[in-house]
């Protein structure tokens, strides 16, 4: 007995030591082999590589958006793609907070084959610096030079890192020079409910006085709707870092410039912008902004749109399309229309599509079959792939006219028009937005539904490309990055107090406080960093004089 216990305790002790040491001395290297495996099929520039190899394979694809829902297995189009290319995509979607999932995967080195995240997410730089992503240049050169045919050199240059290589490719990327080729849609419009607006005489709401009196008139005339109070104006939600309606939305609407004489500055200091913020303050003082406006999230707003309680909405029109459709179906005149909202004499400069696009798709060093990954990406971006994603199989749901332009067959077009939801579920087309040829898609895509047309196209004359002002923000673990985060949080607290200030003098005082605090948090350093990046952007886009 004694011996056994002794032996047991010794073994345990030894085991503990081993385990402890293993924990302490963790030195697994993070940089995978930099040498690429040999290509299985020949790399040619004239033909896309996927055609040579259509063996079944599964690619694990992470999408950094928790609302994403994949219809890969059920969708008609996606199944067609799987049959054609042999690639089955296993979409991995985080639940709830995307940051946590992404960060744990990065720290734990468990990133899947391909990842798609916001194009300006600071994590991308971190991943590149840590050597966790393959360069698409390397991959294209080694396996599929046709990649260069389907991508834009300008975009590749835009996303190039310090070593001159690019580590991913975006979607929805439109360079300023391509603006004429596409159908410009503006989502940031000032919308009013048509019947209410006409009932108060369709006044001009572009001046502070006109704006306030219109809101007041609406409130007086339509005090309650179905027993619940009318809300004169609805805004986006007040988040920790500000309010979209009162930040970039309003700034762009007023045409506040990003730079003065080639130097960036804090747009929030613009006098026109402040004048309009004060107008909102006055609106609050006049009781035109209910408490709800400050605490509602998108969910509550949708409910209230359905309850017809908003007179006006300084809100992205794409965010209440369901409500709009219901209203339009009931009575087209009771739906929302876009009108000229706050204005200070300058034309609005609504942000159009940018060269940064929306998301970036990258191949990670954990990819099991790098060759097939890049080939699949090339396929998706080619004309053939774009057509397959949008219209499906030729002869089944797709028809091609004499110019080679594809479109939906009558049967499918009817379904698209009458019951979009059904169409989406059947085809699985909608969730496949990660990579495709934007310009071609624009040329082919079906028309915008009638209840959205007025709102979507209202800002067409005012859309400009703000590409050169993008990608200016520093990474997270730097001093400048910390300063930016702190300043954003500060603004998030300041903005509601500004609007709820009791008088213009108090407003000025609060704003002065903000400026001085902002400066102590490191504003100058941040501005210098952004200015430097701005200069780089100008070079990349060939805008330097």
């Amino acid at each position: 007995m004694k011996k056994r216990v002794k032996g047991l305790s010794r073994a345990t002790a030894l085991g503990l030591c081993v385990v402890l040491l293993a924990g302490c001395g963790k030195s697994t290297t993070n940089e995978a082999d930099t040498a690429l495996p040999d290509p299985v099929t020949e790399a040619r520039a004239e033909e896309p590589g996927w055609k040579d190899d259509t063996d079944p394979i599964t690619i694990d694809w992470y999408i950094n958006y928790s609302w994403y829902s994949s219809l890969w297995d059920e969708g008609l189009y996606s199944q067609y793609i799987e049959e054609k290319t042999g690639v089955k995509v296993n979409f991995i979607v985080p639940a709830g907070n995307e940051e946590e999932k992404l960060n744990t995967m990065i720290a734990g080195d468990t990133l899947p084959d391909i990842i798609t995240l916001y194009a300006q997410d600071p994590a991308i730089n971190q991943l590149v610096e840590a050597g966790k992503l393959y360069s698409v240049n390397d991959l294209a050169d080694a396996y599929d030079p046709y990649f260069y045919e389907v991508t834009s050199a300008e975009t590749l240059a835009w996303f190039a890192m310090e070593d001159g290589k690019t580590y991913g490719y975006p979607n929805s990327s439109i360079s300023p020079s391509e603006y004429d080729e596409i159908d410009l849609i503006g989502y940031q419009t000032f919308n009013v409910k048509q019947d209410y607006y006409e009932a108060i005489g369709s006044p001009d709401m572009s001046t502070p006085e006109g704006f306030l009196s219109a809101l007041q008139a609406a409130k007086d005339q339509f005090g309650t709707v179905n027993g619940q109070p009318l809300i004169p104006i609805g805004l986006h939600e007040f988040t920790d870092v500000g309010n979209l309606s009162l930040d970039s939305f309003l700034l762009n609407y007023l045409g506040v410039p990003y730079e003065i004489d080639g130097q960036l500055y804090d747009r929030r200091e613009d006098s026109n912008y402040l004048e309009w913020l004060k107008t909102f303050r006055k609106a609050n003082e006049m009781g035109l902004l209910s408490d709800d406006v400050f605490i509602d999230t998108r969910l509550q707003l949708e409910e209230k749109v359905a309850q017809k309680r908003y007179f006006s909405l300084l809100y992205q029109n794409c965010d209440f399309t369901t409500g709009q459709q219901l209203l339009y179906q009931e009575d087209p005149n009771s739906a929302y229309i876009a009108i000229q909202g706050p204005n200070s004499g300058n034309d609005p400069t609504i942000a159009g599509p940018s060269i940064s696009g929306w998301t970036l798709t990258c191949v990670t060093k954990n990819a099991k079959n790098v060759e097939r990954c890049i080939e699949f990406m090339t396929y998706l971006m080619s004309a053939e792939g774009t057509s397959d994603i949008t219209f499906g199989e030729v002869g089944v749901s797709c028809q091609v006219d004499e110019n080679g332009t594809p479109s939906l067959t009558e049967e499918y077009q009817k379904l698209y028009d009458d019951n979009k939801e059904e169409y989406d579920k059947l085809t699985g087309s909608d969730p496949l937005w990660m990579l495709y040829d934007q310009v071609l898609y624009e040329a082919w895509k079906p028309a915008v539904p009638v209840h959205l047309q007025q709102m979507y196209y209202w800002s067409k004359p005012y859309m400009v490309s703000h590409s050169v002002y993008e990608n200016l923000n520093p990474g997270t673990n730097t001093d400048e990055g910390e300063a930016l985060a702190e300043i954003n949080l500060l603004w998030g607290q300041t903005l509601p107090s500004l609007i709820r200030a009791a008088s213009d003098e108090e407003f000025d005082r609060i704003f002065a406080d903000y400026i001085s605090q902002r400066d102590t948090l490191g504003w100058d350093k941040l501005l210098a960093y952004q200015q430097a990046r701005f200069e780089e952007n100008k070079v990349k886009l060939g805008l330097t004089e």
Binding site: Y65, W67, N90, I92, A95, K101, T104, P112, L299, A306
Partner: protein, 298 residues
């Protein structure tokens, strides 16, 4: 027999009346929000948006439930959760009880050390990332066992067991000890059967913990999405995305799909919660048994 019981019944006092009324009010308060969710989940989506549905469904429809069940993943999630709850609860309860029994003996060698080690674990942790790395090295990521092994022991539950064990009369063990039975046999054959209330309680806590756990599925399962438990499934349906910024050329339909309809959220919640709520009354008899053992004697 019945007459005997009748004569023994206490007369109803004011205290009883007040108590019963109080309990009824509590029941109402507790039930109502659940009733609200149920009623709203059975109503038409557009009616729910308009609000004001408090007592009966408006536009009765089962479409929310139908669309939840249409998602085939819900069946695998249920399966995973049920298996996990059963295996996890049984293993954890016995493992924890066994360890706690040993620690409940104040004469145990090294007891103070063990208790200190345990208490520290309740407050200090290395954080999510080192834990994640550990699970990765133990090959528990993307595996069913990530639900079982890291949940085998809970010092908090062990403390509860210890408190109970300490209160048991020493005589229970003495005769067995004299006979020379080893501690494990004593634990298994004598202590456990007598500790039914606490075992049932901890089993309930554990079972509910397993059933309600959504976090593991969110972080520790990546590539094998069929392993997610039902609460992660619910969490995916219900938690709203934090991204707000609209970028040009993002398909507008994507923005609409970002928000799940309220009725679907409610229906999913009812579906994922109902099973365990239904099971509890069957477990409850173990509590009642304990109570009965006492009252029948009278």
């Amino acid at each position: 027999m019945a007459r005997m019981l009748k004569r023994r019944r206490k007369r109803v006092t004011l205290f009883d009346v007040v108590n019963i009324t109080f309990m009824l009010i509590i029941c109402l308060c507790m039930m109502y929000p659940i009733w609200y969710i149920l009623v709203n989940s059975l109503s038409k989506g557009s009616e729910v948006l308009r609000g004001g549905i408090y007592w009966v469904p408006r536009g009765f429809s089962l479409t929310s439930y139908a669309s939840v069940f249409k998602n085939k993943d819900i069946y695998t999630s249920f399966g995973v959760t049920i298996v996990r709850t059963l295996i996890g609860t049984v293993t954890s309860v016995f493992f924890t009880a066994m360890v706690a029994y040993g620690l409940s003996k104040s004469y145990l060698v090294g007891r103070k050390l063990f208790m200190t080690l345990g208490i520290i674990t309740m407050f200090f942790s290395g954080g999510l990332i080192p834990y994640f790395l550990l699970l990765k090295d133990l090959r528990l990521l993307d595996s069913f066992w990530v639900y079982i092994i890291p949940c085998l022991f809970s010092f908090y539950n062990a403390l509860i067991f210890m408190t109970f064990f300490k209160q048991l009369p020493v005589e229970l063990e003495e005769s067995a000890k004299i006979d020379g039975t080893n501690d494990f046999r004593i634990f298994w054959s004598i202590i456990l059967p007598v500790s039914t209330p606490v075992v049932a309680t901890i089993a309930l806590f554990n079972g509910v913990m397993h059933w309600n756990d959504y976090f593991s599925g969110v972080i520790y399962i990546t590539n094998k999405q069929w392993l997610i438990p039902i609460q992660t499934f619910l969490y995916k349906a219900v938690a709203e995305s934090t991204s707000n910024i609209m970028v040009q050329n993002m398909p507008a339909s994507v923005r609409t799909s970002m928000v799940t309809s309220t009725t679907i959220k409610y229906a999913t919640m009812i579906i994922t919660t109902a099973p365990i709520v239904v099971i509890y009354p069957f477990l409850q008899k173990y509590f009642v048994k304990g109570i009965m053992i006492g009252s029948v004697k009278g």
